[in-house]
Amino acid sequence: MNDREAQQEIEDRVRRALDERAAGLDAATLSRLRQAREQALAGGAGRGWWQRWPAGGGLRWASAVAAGLLLVVGLVVWQQAGRQGLDGAVDDLEVLASSDDLKLYQDLDFYLWLEREGLSANGAEDRT
């Protein structure tokens, strides 16, 4: 067998093997191929933008995006909770450390009302 014949023989064997593989595809795969073809012919009408994942496993991409979103949301919530907790603690510490009378803070609503009414505690006392 010369080189050309040997090459031809290899080509024929490989071609037959490939034909066998294509002809022996299982029913589930053939059905998915048919669906893909129908979608392509319908111009992708049945396939929304959210389904147009880059090739590489729609389910895997969906899982990756979901995990990413979860991570971002988790980070934001964690940071906000941390900041609020810290801010509250600092406020409490300032009140406790202040030299002002604690009673002032307890009556703060009353003093704010007086301020809104344009009265000072002293003025009010003066009129009585």
Partner: protein, 172 residues
């Protein structure tokens, strides 16, 4: 168009599967290629369709390999092998179509079939593409070059190397 896609889809899937070693990935690639082909090239003359379709499919396969390499590099740096070894094959999904051919209609023994396909699968991607497009799809050198996005000279080189590798493997 439907007739064309129905005629080419099985071979396209086998090509994509040989390149990716993964049925699911291959189905996604073929679906993407069919969608892009139908939306862009439906009005082109019929005789231009095979190389145009294969250009889209081969580009998608090449992009898939690039992404895969990039991902492997990152996971490798992190010391994780990734899911390359995950071959949880569902035997029911992989079973041949019972409504298809009878065993006596199968021309080639299963071992021989697997051996030949494994040899094609092991070819470097560009050699595999050149071989499949030229020998199986029957595209000429210029059409193969167009589908692969390279020169005719490169196609000949890839094809010659692929043939040598297959002869070494299959004549042993």
């Amino acid at each position: 168009m439907e007739q064309f896609l129905a005629g080419i889809e099985k071979r396209a899937l086998v090509m994509a599967e040989l390149a990716t070693h993964d049925r699911e990935e291959a189905l996604d690639l073929v679906q993407d290629a069919m969608l892009a082909f139908a939306s862009r090239y439906g009005r082109r003359p019929r005789e231009e369709w095979p190389p145009l379709f294969h250009r889209i499919l081969q580009n998608r396969i090449r992009d898939w390999h690039r992404r895969r390499r990039g991902r492997s590099r990152w996971w490798g740096r992190l010391g994780w092998k990734g899911d390359d070894d995950d071959d949880g094959v569902d035997p029911i999904q992989q079973a041949p179509d019972p409504g298809g051919r009878l065993p006596e209609e199968v021309l080639m023994g299963e071992d021989e079939l697997e051996r030949i396909l494994a040899a094609v699968e092991e070819l470097p991607l560009r050699q595999q593409q050149a071989f499949l497009l030229r020998v199986w799809e029957g595209l000429d050198v210029a059409e193969t070059a167009s589908a692969m996005g390279c020169s005719s000279g490169s196609v000949k080189t890839h094809l010659s190397r692929a043939m040598s590798a297959l002869r070494r493997q299959l004549q042993e």
